[in-house]
Symmetry: C2
């Protein structure tokens, strides 16, 4: 036992009490944190994440320019009844071109909300998020590269459509936030699709079907796999979900019609226990002293 | 004051004591964590990060194919004396083509070491990392998309050069790990450059100069800005460093010669206090009840 064991025993016992005290601060515990969580440092503060975002929009624009020059037969929206194993796509016909983007952490950074989240330690809270949707327009910014990309798309005649799980009840405030971030105009039901537009809740396939009925969608951008297909959120294991992104025709879509933006702060990418994240055959431990050489 | 205030006062006071107790477990505190940290869930477990990685290699291959068809005048390695504001590049001449990659979390995932890190809660430890370099070959895997990309590059006649801050003392073990990850052969001093190869420590500009003296480097890949230029690590503020990635000619390089891989787990992207990460004009707070509408 280490020398401080008995004092530590008392202190450890006190933690249960403290846990009760901080029950109304569910996320990170007692003391106000010295720094934002690592994921926020990375996404909102680092040059690495900014570069990763600019890179995604550069790849998207390269792709879109090629498709505008040579109209594709198919859009990049999966057709009804398609599977990840056997993807089929909504045909383009002679529909006008569009690019479809999620909003939060895809084209717009929720700086103000995440500041509130990190400083209060309250984690996600539906009431706070609703207040944020209604009043946050002054505290957002564009994802690096996004404002230039949406402007260039519009200049090329490609309609920019936003498909977000923000609430239809807050449509005007969300359009105001999009504009304040430097991303231009968004009109509910025309270039802005929201949760509540149909009966599918946060699932976006129905809204994607509506958009791809009107447009030849040549690019989609998102930070969550659900921004590309609801099939990624069909209850499969963490491991199977990751595998599904790397196999067959789906693997070919990343950077080639489907464009991912980084988000290690929240969402469907932040799941999994040790056995999900670290394969059984990759669990290294320090060699015992005698094994060192 | 909330009803439990006085008991909480006692419990909060006990936290200082507890902090002392866990000082020999520097990273995450007392109890073994239920899950890996969010950044590891994201990077090693999510489909989102896998897709982001595949996308980066897809963009890199598109870029390289274009450059192999039409030889560029300049490489993508900054010339000596260049600045981020006024970048100049090492000329290509008729040198053979190469692509230069960092190793860790760029082409190879250190699954085993991060498992050790997360389960022991010890954080980074130089001795553990050295043991990992020497014995970890069985517990690595390729970054999604990396193995296919390096194979395709070699098939196209583009030499793949690894430039990593792993130690020159462990060159053979690192080459073995690279091979075990499915990334092929790496030969120290030829296609594998390591920390200790010169007197510049972890700074890579000297090694990049040596590589670009022999090759026309048409693409670089890394998860840290130092994988592209030491100028990003010149002591500037977190904010200035991020800004430097998004301005002028440098912004144009991401996805266009310089290719970033995600890493929210460790490194130079995980820095900054609240004032660095959240600009002063973006600090939102919940509106008071009366302001809600």
């Amino acid at each position: 036992m280490p020398p401080r064991a008995s004092a530590c025993g008392l202190a450890v016992a006190a933690v249960a009490l403290l846990s009760a005290c901080v029950a109304d601060r569910p996320a990170t515990g007692a003391a106000p944190p010295a720094n934002p969580p690592a994921g926020m440092q990375y996404l909102y503060g680092s040059g690495e994440a900014a570069a990763l975002s600019v890179q995604a929009f550069t790849a998207l624009m390269t792709h879109v320019m090629a498709k505008v020059k040579a109209r594709p037969v198919d859009s990049v929206v999966l057709a009804e009844g398609a599977s990840l194993e056997q993807p089929r796509f909504v045909p383009c016909g002679d529909k006008p071109f569009a690019a479809v983007f999620d909003v939060d952490e895809t084209v717009m950074l929720n700086i103000g909300f995440e500041y509130h989240d990190a400083t209060t330690g309250r984690g996600y809270d539906a009431a706070a998020w609703d207040a944020w949707e209604r009043t946050g327009a002054g505290a957002v910014s564009a994802v690096p590269g996004a404002a230039e990309a949406v402007q260039d798309l519009r200049n090329m005649g490609v309609t920019v459509v936003f498909n977000t799980n923000r609430s239809a009840a807050n449509a005007e405030a969300t359009a105001a936030a999009i504009k304040a971030a430097g991303l231009g105009e968004a009109l509910h039901g025309v270039t802005l699709y929201l949760s509540g537009d149909d009966a599918m809740g946060s699932r976006k396939d129905g809204r994607r079907a509506a958009i791809s009925a009107k447009y030849c969608v040549i690019a989609m951008g998102g930070d969550q796999l659900g921004d590309f297909s609801d099939l990624f959120n069909a209850g499969q294991s963490v491991t199977a979900r990751r595998e599904a992104t790397m196999q067959g025709a789906i693997a070919h879509l990343w950077g080639n019609g489907w464009f991912v933006l980084p988000n290690p702060v929240y969402g469907s990418g932040l799941k999994g226990g040790f056995d999900d994240v670290f394969p059984a055959d990759k669990k290294w431990a320090m060699p015992a002293q005698g094994e060192k050489k």
